[in-house]
């Protein structure tokens, strides 16, 4: 099984990076952390833009750095999307798109440029100079430009952070499509949970130049021992698929490993994969399923852990519903009155669900 192996040790002025990571060779890995956590520096080391003193970087069988060997950036088969689009101002959009393609593949294929431009909705901009484009358009050109080099690894450094929220919503669907269509692995740096929830398959949590956690998104989000669970907006993300549209009640039924979720009806194909985000504070716990309730999204679950929350009145409950990890935040008083204990079977009741699409 191919994979990404990163071991990087380097002391920068006032900051040291010490990372040893094994990441999946497919899908989107989000490097998540506050500014100064070293996530961007790690990404730059992978690209060879930063030269770590001691590092071994291997991506799906290609070793780019190890003791006594350092492949310069321009010989690494990567695509890199910077925070600001950084288009070449002296070239038009077509020139920018062709720049990397020509050097990586030896030819400029107009049909491929047009196909890629169409994919990112920038076909009508090919003759324009970058300073005539909006921030969102520029970033879409930058992503298309990186992909046209046919990279083996796509690196994205907070590609949405320089954009206002309307522009972000304009680009996120393109990124989600990339996530579904791309064959190559993606390393995506962000400090926005919304982006991580929408795009990540694998989540790496970083702080002060160290890796605090690395694992599949759902598992990592629901871990009680990580600061993520303490966040006011702590949540889990569930992968589900569209099972049925109920025209009578105007609902769409989603199916996942732990049961079924009803959401307001959406125009989605039956069988389409969707992501659902559930905040920890929107899950309550009941002992039985018999009591009538307006809450209809409820899953038979098992308690996997109980931990104190930062707010002394509350506690965090780790749950599993059919193998899918969930996270609930309830008052300590409620936990005590229900007599909750690890291993106990309970019902997780979900008050609100956000469909990420």
């Amino acid at each position: 099984m191919s994979a990404i192996s990163l071991r990087v040790q380097h002391a920068f002025p006032g900051f040291s990076l010490d990372v040893d990571l094994q990441l999946p060779g497919r899908g989107v890995t989000v490097l998540f952390g506050h500014s100064g956590s070293g996530k961007t520096t790690l990404l730059r080391c992978v690209a060879g833009l930063e030269r770590a003193a001691d590092a071994r970087i291997e991506v799906n069988g290609n070793c780019w750095q190890e003791a006594g060997r350092f492949t310069p950036t321009w010989q690494r088969e990567i695509g890199y999307v910077f925070q600001e689009a950084s288009l070449f101002p002296h070239l038009d959009v077509r020139g920018n798109l062709a720049f990397g393609m020509k050097r990586a593949t030896g030819v400029v294929r107009e049909d491929e440029i047009h196909a890629m431009a169409a994919r990112f909705g920038i076909e009508h901009l090919l003759g324009r100079k970058p300073d005539g484009l909006s921030g969102g358009e520029r970033q879409r050109v930058a992503i298309a430009r990186a992909l046209l080099t046919r990279p083996r690894l796509l690196l994205m450094d907070e590609p949405l952070s320089a954009l206002d929220s309307a522009r972000k919503q304009e680009i996120l669907p393109y990124l989600e499509r990339l996530h579904d269509e791309l064959e190559i692995p993606v390393l995506y740096v962000t400090h926005q949970m919304e982006e991580a929830a929408r795009l990540a398959d694998h989540l790496v949590l970083m702080a002060q130049g160290r890796v605090m956690a690395s694992g599949p998104l759902g598992e990592t989000l629901s871990r009680l021992d990580l600061p993520l669970a303490q966040d006011h907006d702590a949540s889990v993300v569930i992968e589900a698929e569209v099972a049925e549209h109920d025209a009578h009640w105007q609902l769409t039924r989603l199916r996942f490993g732990g049961g079924e979720i009803f959401v307001s009806q959406r125009a989605l194909n039956i069988g389409a994969p969707v992501r659902v985000r559930i905040l920890a504070r929107d899950i309550s716990i009941a002992l039985g399923s018999d009591n009538a309730s307006s809450i209809q999204n409820r899953f038979a679950s098992q308690i996997t852990g109980i931990a104190p929350a930062e707010d002394p009145a509350q506690c965090l409950i780790g749950l599993q519903a059919g193998g899918v990890p969930l996270l609930a935040r309830i008052t300590r008083r409620a936990a005590d009155q229900l007599g909750l204990a690890v291993g106990q079977s309970v019902w997780a009741q979900v008050k609100a669900v956000a469909l990420l699409d």
């Binding site: 690209a47 910077f82 720049f99």
Partner: protein
């Protein structure tokens, strides 16, 4: 009214030949120096900057004096050129080229250095992630983005070489057709009280300088803000 004579024309032709040669040499030598100064974090940066800028403050006679010693029969450069069979450089066209190159170096290095610093490291990083080698990046990204800087550098290097006098006298003397450039020719006319001919050449220089600077400022609005 006296018109310019053949000696005047010869001085004009020689001056243009000198300035063109020196400008070409300066772009070749000045660009790597400017690149290094713009990008390096070496502690030598300050010292090299100061060295390159010396001609801005030194009297041309001082520079000419030391170049004369270096290139003379007993100087290390002189001994080298003799050993190579080139002969001695002082009082030749080649000697003038060498001296002028040193003298005009800061006028070429500084605009290019400013332009490269203004580009910043990001476009170079982007080019590297798009598989451009450093040499490729220089020609396909740095040169087009720094073009106003190169243009300013070339114009200033050319104009400054046309306008020099002290260094030429020290190194080249006053040999018609070999080292007698316009500024020296004007000096000779004035010495000989040939004011009419001195006027022709002087007014020509004023007009030339004005046109050059006008071109520079209208082609390249940035140059107005940057001290050369």
């Amino acid at each position: 009214m006296l018109l310019p004579d053949s000696q005047d024309w010869s001085a004009i032709w020689l001056t243009l030949r000198l300035a063109t040669t020196v400008t070409a040499l300066l772009l070749i030598i000045g660009t790597p120096i400017a690149w290094w100064l713009a990008r390096t974090q070496s502690r030598l940066r300050g010292a090299i900057s100061a060295l390159v800028s010396l001609p801005l403050v030194l009297p041309p006679t001082v520079l000419g004096f030391y170049l004369l010693l270096l290139m003379g029969p007993n100087g290390p450069v002189g001994q080298l050129t003799q050993a190579l069979g080139i002969g001695l450089l002082p009082f030749t066209f080649a000697g003038l080229v060498v001296a002028s190159t040193f003298y005009s170096l800061p006028f070429v290095v500084q605009p290019i250095q400013n332009a490269i610093e203004a580009i910043g490291p990001r476009p170079l990083e982007v080019a590297a992630t798009l598989r451009a080698s450093p040499r490729d990046t220089f020609w396909s990204v740095v040169v087009p983005l720094a073009r106003p800087g190169f243009l300013t550098a070339a114009v200033l290097g050319f104009a400054h070489t046309v306008g020099e006098f002290g260094v030429v006298l020290m190194i080249g003397g006053n040999i018609p057709g070999a080292t007698r450039v316009i500024s020296v020719q004007i000096y000779d006319h004035v010495e000989a009280l040939e004011y009419a001919q001195a006027h022709w050449l002087s007014a020509g220089m004023v007009a030339f300088s004005f046109v050059v600077l006008l071109l520079l400022y209208s082609l390249n609005p940035d140059a107005r803000r940057k001290p050369a």
